[in-house]
Symmetry: none
Subunit: 137 residues, 4 copies
């Protein structure tokens, strides 16, 4: 059975994401949600975008809600594709681009990390670094 | 005269949809609305996506609101097509892809079923199984 | 360790609440949330108030959010009392009167039931009947 | 000139608050905002109330917004008192009871800490412990 996501584990994810962001030289906002999609921890690095506070939280929300990285939604939600228009649901909390990654324990999604503030590839890289730290904790 | 959709009838629809979803092996969220487009019943199967709670409700809402299956909106709402942008209306409750199906009694729409959680074709199949149970009750 | 609230268990709670409401002769709306405060099941009895759809959901939300029956908030949130004004938080989802009751497993809150549609004492009685069925399932 | 509140300083506040909460034996939610009243950091201790996520954030918001501890608003906002009804402003983000404390640097408010999850006196004690760590850092 999968364990609950603890605050200590969430802070390990944030620390790893922050370290990766510092390596890139791009301050970001980082949010962690648990299996019930409720916020566990959040950190805004010095100089990170204010508009990214909500985007980081919503990337984490989206990755948990649909149990997939947010960049998997990108192509699915384009015009002509199966989930076109899905961002109108979930009360404006769906983000369709990369930077949200599920956190898994024994193959079960127990939460997610969302990163925003840089370019989408940078946000993805930082989020993946956080998720990797969770997987190997 | 068409009958009002009762809770018992809604639960028949949910049971039939659930049975179809179990046959496919895909847990889903299932919502039923009545002729006034107000929620009558809802069920989230164990393991169904959290993000699909709202999508299932909105599929039912959309199918009742426009008295057509939600997949009928898909092509109409694409860029360049007649209903492009319609998802911004109705307070974010419009879904443009399949899985919402009207429930009819003597040719009158008396409600709708919305299903979300699997692929769009699977959601449609499950919703249609629910609607079929309503039609033959 | 406490078990997750399943759909089957939620439907047992709804059935017991409905039976109690029928005994009283008062149709109600009944909502069940899980440990993450996400909706698991909902039922509106025939003739139950439309305005109570949201109130029932919010009673369940409040009981889970604060891990207490909603009637415990009633006196705490009065003018001059410790939590006066708390209903402005949680995006309008806090209900300060009875009808929301936590669902517990081995002393851990794993969800909640919310009932609305009748008088507050009736709603409480119906919610408690639902919770009792959960406790003895 | 007062310094900007950094993420490192916010985490010092959270760590001190958490330590005090652990001493009391009461898990809480802890939020830190900066001089612009935007979230810098957040932590939900294991077992802390879900309903307190928003309350903790709003306590920090209120303490920064009015540059006073939130318990200073309690009597001012009662029926018949000067600020009666103020909680309807600021989009539902005003909290009228204790647990929000400004963070000051050289006599200037540069942010705030909000704590929720226990009794109001406990939340206040935990928030003050966090603010004290900021003052003596």
């Amino acid at each position: 059975m999968a364990a609950k996501l603890t605050l200590d584990a969430a802070q390990v994810v944030i620390a790893a994401a922050r370290q990766e962001a510092e390596k890139i030289g791009q301050p970001v906002d980082i949010a962690i949600v648990d299996d019930g999609n409720n916020l566990v921890a959040f950190a805004r690095m010095d100089g990170a975008l204010l508009g990214s506070i909500d985007v980081a939280m919503n990337k984490a929300y989206t990755a948990r809600a649909f149990e997939m990285p947010t960049d998997s939604l990108t192509s699915l939600a384009q015009p002509g594709q199966p989930l076109y228009g899905i961002e109108a649901s979930n009360h404006g909390r769906i983000i369709l681009f990369g930077g949200g990654v599920p956190l898994e324990d024994n193959g079960v999604v127990v939460g997610a990390v969302g990163v925003s503030g840089g370019s989408v590839p940078h946000d993805q890289e930082v989020a993946r670094a956080g998720a990797a730290a969770f997987g190997s904790r």
